[in-house]
Every structure is written in C-alpha cells, then in structure tokens.
Amino acid sequence: SQTIHQWPATLVQPVGSPLSLECTVEGTSNPNLYWYRQAAGRGLQLLFYSVGIGQISSEVPQNLSASRPQDRQFILSSKKLLLSDSGFYLCAWSLGSSTDTQYFGPGTRLTVL
C-alpha cells in the first residue's frame, strides 16, 4: 500500500534561517506531488506542484522553493525564513492528473520566531 511521510513534524526556526522540509512517498511510481500551506482562515494554499523529477510548478510568488531530486521525494526549502512563513505545511500525492484523489501527509508545523 502507498504511504506518505513528512518530516520533521514540528520545527521552530529563527527569522533569516534556512529551511528544508522533506516529503517521501512509498508504494507508487511517478506520482504527482504537491506542497500546500494550511493557515487558519485561509484554507489550503497550493504552493508547488510536480509531475516528475525536476519538474516543478510554482503557484504563488514567495520566499520558498521546491525540488524533486528523486521520483518519490519532494523537498520544500527557503534560504531565509520570514515571519510570514509560519504555518502548517502539507505534502500530498496523487496518481495521474490532479483529478485523482489526493493523499495527504501528516504535515509539518513551522513556527518562525
């Protein structure tokens, strides 16, 4: 069966520090991968979307970047965190197009101080 992992679960970082959040999927090949930010009152905001290795689409301009070095690995990064980067980050995967069901990871709670 397929599973999706995210780590760390919780992270507290100072403003200006770098960020690396990792997401891995098991049990499937060539999934579509997604990074979302979940904020109270703002729902789920799609940050990045990937249909394959090295193929990243960015949905909103921001302080963050994403990479997909391997088929089932998706990394969210920042060189210098801002206070506004605080939030709950969710990774998700789907088969084929995004009309398919999306399966979400457990999320990472990021607090930038």
């Binding site: 997604y34 979302y36 009152g41 703002r42 729902g43 789920l44 905001q45 799609l46 979307y49 249909v51 689409s57 949905e59 969710l90 998700a92 197009s97 995004s98 009309t99 069901t101 999306q102 399966y103 979400f104 990871g105 457990p106 999320g107």
Partner: protein
C-alpha cells in the same frame, strides 16, 4: 481563474439535526469537485467526489451547475462528524495540467 468559496468558517449544530456545509465555485469549464475532511489529530483525507455519486458516512453532495454549488449534506449529524471540511475543485491549469483549488474550510461542531 478557479475559485472555491465556503462562506461559513464555523457551523454548530445539535446531534441529530440536519447538516449542510455550503460550497460555491467559480470555473469556466466543467469542474470536478471534492469534499475533504480532517478529523482532530488525523490527516486530511478525501470524503467524497461528485463523479462517484456516493454517500460516505451518511454525507452526500450534489453538483448544481446552475447555482455553481456543491453543498455537503447529512440528514442527522453525529458527534463523530465534528471536523474541518474542505471543498475542492479540480480544473484545467494554464500550463495544461489539472489544478486543485481548496476553499478556506468550514469547521463543523456537533453539540451533544
């Protein structure tokens, strides 16, 4: 552009009362619509999708293209239905891919 609107951030109902979580969408093409649910301390997960025309945990949702709505309904609320509910729309992205847009979510609170 595609947009999903959930007008209620919080909906409180008594156990046994009917529930309706509202969702309206804006999309020029033929959309695919979903409801996702997040129970306390659990992952966000799919509840139902309109193309399946199914009832999950007593919930149903009908796509009304005339009113551009996809409201989630249940005739009798249960305490275990308390959760965060997100409406989502999948539509054609400008880059040729399908893109999923989520609403801001509605917190359903079922009062015993």
């Amino acid at each position: 552009a595609q947009r999903v609107t959930q007008p209620e951030k919080l909906l409180s109902v008594f156990k046994g009362a009917p529930v309706e979580l509202k969702c309206n969408y804006s999309y020029s093409g033929s959309p695919e619509l979903f409801w996702y649910v997040q129970y306390s301390r659990q992952r966000l997960q799919l509840l139902l999708r309109h193309i399946s025309r199914e009832s999950i945990k007593g919930f149903t949702a009908d796509l009304n293209k005339g009113e551009t709505s996809f409201h989630l309904k249940k005739p009798f609320a249960q305490e275990e239905d308390s959760a965060m509910y997100y409406c989502a729309l999948s539509g054609q992205h400008s880059g040729g891919y399908q893109k999923v847009t989520f609403g801001i979510g509605t917190k359903l609170q079922v009062i015993p």
